[in-house]
């Protein structure tokens, strides 16, 4: 029997093992994320922001405290690329250090939120019963309180250090994470692999850390990504009201507040931190959207 050249005989078919490309959830998610252009641009922007914050630890064009009478209210020029503020300080330098503060607040808050939220969510979702009742009531009470006002009160009571602000924001922002982890745990605890683990005598803390938490990690990462811009925005609000980090720390919110009274004559003092802040928040939100679509492709928008 003659076969056309290049076409495999049935024997060859059977003999060849079909090698499927090995892939896992994270590689798969990364492939999908790369196709989302907005998320990719956001990732690049955020990498740039981290780089700027790292550089600002060692070098800024001018020392951020250096004031000058001659440079007061200068518009952007070759010496001061984004101009200078009311005290004649270089805005580029202050923006760079501000990036550091925003990132510290954003990431620091989410670490605290993750610790509180994951612990409460896992316990409430897995053990249910009266523990769940207590935690769910607590979550509902916190949802009913305006977060900014409580954070303001906490800052008033605790003082104005960066660590205290991070704590104050986390204390009013942990509920989304707790509710999410609780929901995930409730769903996962009914799955076969958890039942199998339980049947083979695995202890609850091991089930939670080895079986449930890893499977809930995707949504947790998405939630944390959305939490970072909220925390940054919060710190900017506090600083804008004059109740955030201690001046002259160059927080973006404080910089915008400083320049507001001179909006007519020198709008760049407000616009520079305002644009930096908006772009950062936007990048985190687009990245969050991208991650959500990438990690959970079933949940199409």
């Amino acid at each position: 029997m003659a076969t056309a050249p290049g076409v495999a005989t049935p024997d060859e078919y059977v003999g060849a093992t079909i090698v499927r490309e090995q892939t896992n959830l994270w590689a798969d998610a990364w492939r999908r994320l790369k196709r989302n252009r907005l998320a990719l641009v956001s990732t690049i922007l955020l990498c740039g922001l981290v780089l700027v914050a790292l550089v600002s630890l060692f070098w800024t064009p001018y020392p951020i405290w250096r004031q000058g009478v001659a440079s007061t209210y200068q518009t952007p020029n070759s010496h001061f690329l984004l101009g200078a503020d009311a005290a004649g300080r270089d805005i580029v330098s202050r923006l760079m250090v501000g990036a550091q503060i925003s990132l510290e607040v954003g990431v620091g808050t989410q670490i605290v939120v993750a610790l509180i939220g994951i612990t409460i969510g896992l316990i409430a979702g897995y053990f249910r019963g009266w523990l769940d009742g207590i935690f769910s009531t607590l979550i509902n009470i916190f949802y009913g309180i305006p977060d900014l006002l409580v954070a303001l009160l906490l800052v008033l009571l605790l003082g104005r250090g960066l660590d205290k602000i991070i704590f104050a924001i986390a204390a009013t922002r942990w509920m989304d994470m707790a509710r999410l982890v609780r929901g995930q745990t409730l769903a996962l605890r009914e799955r076969e692999f958890v039942e199998a683990a339980r049947a083979s005598g695995t202890r609850p803390n091991k089930i939670l850390s080895r079986h449930i938490l890893p499977n809930a990690l995707g949504p947790i990462i998405v939630q944390a990504t959305f939490g970072i811009p909220q925390a940054i925005l919060f710190e900017a609000f506090l600083s804008f009201l004059g109740l955030g980090v201690q001046p002259p720390t160059p927080s973006w919110g404080a910089m915008a507040a400083d320049g507001f009274h001179a909006l007519r004559i020198a709008p760049h003092i407000v616009l520079a931190p305002a644009i930096a802040l908006s772009l950062t928040l936007m990048a985190f939100n687009f990245l969050g959207d991208g991650l959500r679509d990438a990690l959970d492709p079933r949940q199409k928008r």
């Binding site: 900014l148 915008a256 507040a257 305002a274």
Partner: protein, 319 residues
């Protein structure tokens, strides 16, 4: 007419609100009294006897528990005490007036938020997966990424500074606030800045819920009857798409209250939010406690109204 059952439900909720108000103000009361010093310590112009008299007047010389008892009994009489900084000014009438100003601005912002959000959401939904939809969806992410003080700065720059220059000073927005309630032209810019981030959220929610509703059988039936697109969308789809939007009115109200703290300070609006920040900065703790009491009550009542609205709009839901 409200049924007997509805009245009982409202009564229960009001009792719950009263409890929350007392609980919130108690926590703030205890917290604030842990702070070192008092409002008169730094006042060097008064001698020891006068200071003692002042402390006595404000009941600051008696044990904390007795102070607390006086405070709680005051709440039930609607008396929040006197300002520590502007001595002799009773707090309740002051805050009532300021709350009405905040309500004026907040309600305008809320109307604007819901209006703009729903229009954008509906347009995006009926033009699903076209460039209009993508533009609206992307714009909504950008919308809630921009802090309200940034929106406010840009609006002031455009309408107060540039518009003044372009029109030679004939048409422009004057930053400021006249009298207690402001002039009509002064309210729109602050209300826009206040509501803008939340309009994006409303738009997203409306879009998602419209898409869901448009897939339903009764919409197909309405279309099959030969009704025009406009009537199908307004009368059949939008009304049901509204239900999820109503659920976020509660968080939305809290968001607008939070935002008003920033916006009132920017535009010099004499509302509760401005008073709140001023009282913290001037350490007028009696007013800090009073503002929290007010906010707790306002949020309780707003949530109750949302729940009542919810049952009114969706007959399937009962008390």
């Amino acid at each position: 007419m409200l049924s007997r059952r509805a009245l009982i439900y409202i009564g229960e909720r009001l009792v719950l609100i009263a409890f929350t108000v007392v609980a919130v103000s108690s926590i703030v009361f205890v917290g604030v009294h842990q702070l070192p010093g008092n409002a008169f310590l730094s006042d060097r112009r008064i001698d020891a006897a006068a200071q003692a008299a002042l402390l006595h007047h404000y009941h600051l010389d008696i044990p904390l528990f007795d102070q607390y008892r006086l405070f709680v009994s005051g709440i039930f009489r609607g008396d929040l005490g006197e300002s520590l900084v502007n001595r002799g000014i009773p707090i309740t009438p002051l805050l009532l007036r300021e709350a009405s100003v905040s309500l004026e601005v907040g309600a305008t912002a809320l109307l604007f938020t819901i209006g703009l959000g729903m229009v954008l959401g509906v347009i995006a939904a009926i033009r699903q997966n076209t460039w209009i939809d993508y533009l609206a969806t992307t714009a909504s992410v950008i919308g809630y990424s921009i802090p309200n003080f940034v929106t406010a700065s840009v609006l002031v720059l455009v309408f107060a500074v540039y518009l003044y220059n372009w029109t030679g000073g004939t048409i422009y927005y004057e930053v400021g606030w006249d009298g207690t309630y402001g002039k009509l032209g002064q309210i729109f810019i602050p209300a826009f800045a206040l509501g803008f981030p939340y309009a994006s959220i409303v738009a997203r929610l409306t879009r998602a819920s419209m898409l869901e509703v448009l897939k339903q059988d009764y919409v197909r039936t309405a279309r099959a009857k030969g009704l025009t697109d406009r009537i199908v969308i307004i009368r059949h789809a939008l009304r049901n798409a509204l239900i999820p939007v109503v659920t976020i009115l509660g968080p939305l109200t809290i968001g607008i209250i939070t935002g008003s703290v920033v916006i009132e300070n920017i535009f010099g609006i004499p509302g509760l939010g401005k008073e709140f920040v001023n009282s913290i900065l001037s350490r007028d703790y009696n007013i800090v406690i009073g503002v929290f009491t007010f906010y707790a009550a306002a949020i309780g009542v707003a949530n109750l109204l949302v729940d009542l609205l919810y049952t009114a709009i969706d007959p399937r839901i009962r008390y």
